[in-house]
Symmetry: D2
Subunit: 301 residues, 4 copies
């Protein structure tokens, strides 16, 4: 359970006191505000603030293009047009701030997205809690034999039991020793900034993370993708579910053009045109590498 | 007058319909929302959205530093501490979106601040209005004789009159010809993306500009500074006045540590220490260049 | 002619003195160093420095993926793999610095690419030269009647002559008055930071512009595209020609996957699959808007 | 020892083959190229590429300010002027690329500097080496009793021995189990992307890190500062030593204005002026908080 009763009470209290504002309001997002969406065994994402809605995207586009946007009959059409033609700046006019609790090894992937603002809990200042990510048995996958960065079959039986037991025991031992080293009972106590180095990377950290909608879409495209590591993907999926409620028109366009879309190379375009013209094509005549050809066939049969 | 009666009516309408929100609300900023603050002869700044307030800064800092912030007794003290020690990330948790109407030559300076989101009116799509910045006679300054990028005395009499007349006439002529070239009466009409090149850089453009509070403070420090060009400085001052109402604690810290502060080199520190010890110092023994010494004496006497 | 004889002599002198370095060297790029590639009537691009080459991209990827990259047999294959899967960080390991002379209205589009370093000639400090972009008659296009931001047929006869005459005369007049206002003969002379506002946006400016290869590719994809305004597109094309010589493998992958590639929406994928299966499709059953359908048919017939 | 004999041989080989270039060359930096500067027990920094030198900074400034820079007699003076007045863009014209091997908990601090390009060794693709940071006994400090994020006295005797023993044993155990879980002898072997979560944060990782000189100076100011954690500070110091050889004029200005400099608030300025005028001041009349007053007295006596 990621939240204590006190935290739940605090969230409910924060949700009791709406105040009037003249700003754009997204009713879909108001319903999410402050609430924790549980992810993994101890993690969560919470929306703690947002700016803008679908109409803010449209408004910014109409400032840019002036009379040039009048021929687009409605907001949904304009937003689809912007997404299709990679007009990124109107989407940057929306902003969201999340509170996320996540394992350190997930945080290390996440932070590679640089266009965001971050305030992370500091283990120099403060002591981390005894909370570690232990995978659900259904997620305990073997190394893929075909993909250097992928997962294969789920581990079974004794091997699975041994792995879970190891992860739990090593985390517990590391944390016991972390506490021992910090302790001042009969000793000075190691500096927190040093003691933390004994902790494994499945320990949970937390941060405030703020980004604009364009960069968030980029994050979601990479991290909600089927090839992303499961442990970051379900964070991305939890975020995506709130974005769908926040900016439904933009999210629908994103799903169609980005999540469900695909980029074809000029070689792939030629190949498809040949097939549309009735020709049968194979890898030899495609000019594609083995890997590229495999990806092409997976999509187009 | 920068706003038409229609625009004024639209703003008042937007201000008539507060809606409930669970987000942080800054009453000071709500009072500014949508309203145009006039700048120069046809320009304005308007706050069209914001995220966060002073307490959002404190909240983000407390997430980062955990128990480490408990010894700071109050929000004002913590915000001053953050500002003094250059902790920039908590200030990045606030965001503001402005609608700005400004001359092109001011826009060209402004855009050099890269960490912001911008949607500018496009003169490829649309036709620019006949509005040009013509300086108030009190701002019609001669080139400084001591500062390569500064202003000297205000022009007087015939010279001033001639300059104003020239600026007005050339702008009017350029715009007349812009319209002529675009016109399709009896001709095809030049493409808008070409015709715009005939317009002078005092024509007004407009954009939506969105940035976080940390980067906004950086902008204000440089552009509200006495050495900034007057025409961008008064935009910075108009923005600063809204920021003061939005996040009063952060703004007070910014004024004390940044706007009113100064950075001393190690040479300047040594020099001041010698003076505090009763020594008389001069440029020769200071190790400073002429310019640096002049700046030192201007500040410390 | 964009360069004076003095400038040409300076460039040739800079090219006379190779020095030994242990860094990666791209022979293709060395041949371009300092040389001006003329663009428009007075503009140019010059490569003034670069960092890295194709092997630097491969090296960075192999650091990231370690043994995971060993199965890719060669550099070209690995670079194509990185490009196909949107691995952007290895391309960021190459950097280029250009000296560009360009009309102000082009500079205003260009600067919208924020992830770059820029030092522009300052008209606050210094006086701009009397050089204006006057389009070649072949580029003097009418406003497109179907595309709000595009060009239609080339202007002919009296209309073309009138436009060219206007552009030349207004630029000359504006510059004459700029000089008059700055002049100190018998007067104080207006501050340079004010006088510049009288200049039209086809005046030339110049800057140093530095960016990494990933962001440069993004710039080229948008600005070397057929829909970009001609006046920025030929700058992008001139830059692209140097990049081809600098990092030939990366550029080939960029051409195949980005410049010659296309992004399909999930709707477009379904549609193509139906056509591959022998079905005839039309707009009504496609779920596409009129504009999207037109783009689809343009590509796939 | 951070480097294997093979790696040393590779570095020496890379240094045997200078090639001619027409680019700016910094002899001081050429001497560093590829060589590993050892940091901590298994870490290093290596310069693997660079762009520009002191004259590149000057050149960019002179493009910007044109005739405006002519009154500054020499390069050193101009660079000091730029640093004093916070002109950051000329410093952005230099770029450096480092290969760094560092403990994960240091990497997590480092990556907070967002304006940089990074390629990190991926533990999804590849297996990490059995190398952990174990502090030198001289660095084994207790938690500071006055500073929430600082260190106090060095641990002694049995407590120190116990801490070192714990860090070593827990790291060894965690790595043994990491290997066991990955192993395919008689089992499937856990996916690498999962197994890595068992490793503690003192394990070493490595990356290529590329940034411009302005942002590098910002990094050095924060991380080579006396308040930075020792384990990142010595990386910053090792980098600083190469920067001093690369751009000696810029580094000297940086040391004077940034590393050795200080920012005074307007309150501190008033206070110093009162003291210069012979007045005695105390905290009560200063308007400063206790912490701010303590910092003031530490500097000025």
């Amino acid at each position: 359970m990621p939240l204590t009763p006190d935290q739940r009470a605090e969230i409910e209290a924060a949700r009791q006191s709406p105040r009037p504002t003249l700003r754009a309001v997204s009713d879909g997002m108001e319903a999410h505000l402050y609430r924790a969406h549980e992810v993994l065994d101890h993690g969560f994402i919470r929306v703690v603030d947002y700016m803008g809605d679908d109409s803010a995207i449209v408004q910014a586009a109409r400032v840019s293009y002036g009379a040039g946007t009048k021929h687009v009959s409605n907001d949904a059409g304009l937003i689809r047009y912007l997404m299709r033609h990679w007009h990124s700046t109107p989407f940057e006019m929306c902003e969201v701030k999340l509170h996320v609790k996540l394992p350190v090894f997930v945080a290390r992937q996440w932070i590679r997205h640089r266009t965001a603002n971050v305030n992370e809990y500091s283990a120099r200042y403060s002591i981390l809690d005894r909370e570690f990510y232990i995978p659900d048995p259904a997620q305990l996958a073997a190394q893929s034999t075909v993909n250097n960065q992928g997962r294969g079959a789920v581990l079974q039986g004794a091997e699975a039991a041994r792995v879970l037991e190891t992860l739990k025991r090593d985390a517990a031992t590391a944390y016991d020793h972390y506490e021992d080293m910090l302790s001042q009972e009969g000793q000075q106590g190691l500096a927190r900034e040093l003691a933390r180095m004994n902790l494994p990377m499945n320990i949970y950290t937390q941060w405030y993370w703020k980004t604009d909608l364009h960069n968030l879409f980029h994050f979601l495209r990479l991290r909600a993708d089927a090839h992303a590591q499961y442990e970051i993907r379900i964070y991305a999926e939890a975020i995506a579910a709130t974005v769908r409620d926040w900016v439904p028109l933009a999210f629908a366009a994103f799903e169609d053009y980005r999540m469900g879309g695909v980029t074809l190379s000029s070689r792939a375009i030629s190949l498809l045109k040949r097939r549309l013209a009735g020709e049968t094509v194979d890898q030899d005549s495609s000019g594609m590498s083995k890997g590229e050809w495999r990806e092409f066939v997976e999509l187009w049969g």
